[in-house]
């Protein structure tokens, strides 16, 4: 196994260093949100379809972000950037809506209350993701 990658642009990827941890956290959240949403959709679609579909959607976005962060290349970096941005907007909007208009989502999602049911990790994660992507991007440019 090669030790540290040479500092060429092609070799520098998002998955090394702190990115390693980010991918792990994203992977777990992809699993958690998707499994939760699918299970809830399967057992009680009529109760809160919007909340359950949102959980599945969040899970898919986490999965896309995890893959984007884990893979090398310009395209996957863009994929990671977009999915982290969508997440950031998602957690802020859904968090605000869940507090101001609770009747929209009768059941909780990963993003309800800004991710309060998940130790606020859903709020911190996209911020860290965006920071990391921009950080690596800046290293490449210099």
């Amino acid at each position: 196994m090669p030790d540290t990658a040479p500092a060429s642009e092609a070799a520098r990827t998002l998955r090394t260093g702190p990115g390693r941890l980010l991918v792990a956290v994203y992977g777990v959240f992809a699993l958690a949100a998707t499994a939760r949403g699918v299970y809830q959709l399967a057992t009680g679609f009529d109760e809160a379809p919007a909340a359950y579909l949102l959980s599945v959607l969040a899970g898919v976005i986490y999965l896309v972000a995890a893959v984007g962060l884990a893979r090398a290349g310009r395209t996957s970096r863009r994929v990671a950037l977009v999915s982290c941005s969508v997440e950031m907007v998602g957690v802020l909007v859904v968090g605000a809506v869940s507090l101001l208009l609770p009747e929209v989502f009768p059941d909780d999602t990963v993003w309800s209350g800004f991710g309060s049911g998940y130790f606020f990790i859903p709020l911190v994660l996209p911020a860290l993701g965006l920071w990391w992507i921009l950080h690596v991007h800046r290293l490449d440019r210099d």
């Binding site: 196994m1 030790d3 540290t4 090394t16 260093g17 702190p18 990115g19 390693r20 941890l21 991918v23 792990a24 956290v25 992977g27 777990v28 699993l31 499994a35 299970y39 399967a42």
Partner: protein
């Protein structure tokens, strides 16, 4: 589920998380002792999973069986997946991955126990 095994796993997992956090803050990569520690933890989890599956085969089933099985599969797969992912990283972020995995493992076991024998 074997209750004392769950408590052992949770304690061992938190100890492992503490150890890996120390390694992270001391700027050490993940080494073979970490890997052995994860192996031991994984064996404990597998032991619990086997005991639980045997109990389920004997007719003891939680109400939300599908949910329970998906959680059980997650706790079995999480330690090896994170150990491999962390070991591939030759920097302090390797043990950080393991610390994260070992912090959520006890939480997952709390959920498992809740599903196995609901209090309400």
């Amino acid at each position: 589920m074997v209750e004392w095994l769950t408590m052992t796993i949770q304690t061992a997992s938190l100890a492992m998380a503490g150890w890996c956090l120390v390694s992270t803050f001391r700027d050490r990569p993940m080494l073979v002792p970490h890997l052995i520690g994860m192996g031991v933890l994984w064996l404990l989890v597998i032991g619990q999973a086997v005991a639980t599956v045997v109990a389920m085969a004997g007719g003891e089933r939680p109400a939300e069986t599908a949910m329970f099985i998906s959680y059980l599969a997650t706790v079995v797969l999480l330690p090896p997946a994170c150990a491999v992912w962390g070991f591939m990283e030759r920097s302090k972020w390797g043990p950080a991955v393991i610390a994260f995995a070992c912090l959520i493992l006890p939480v997952l076991f709390v959920r498992l126990e809740q599903l196995w024998s609901p209090v309400a």
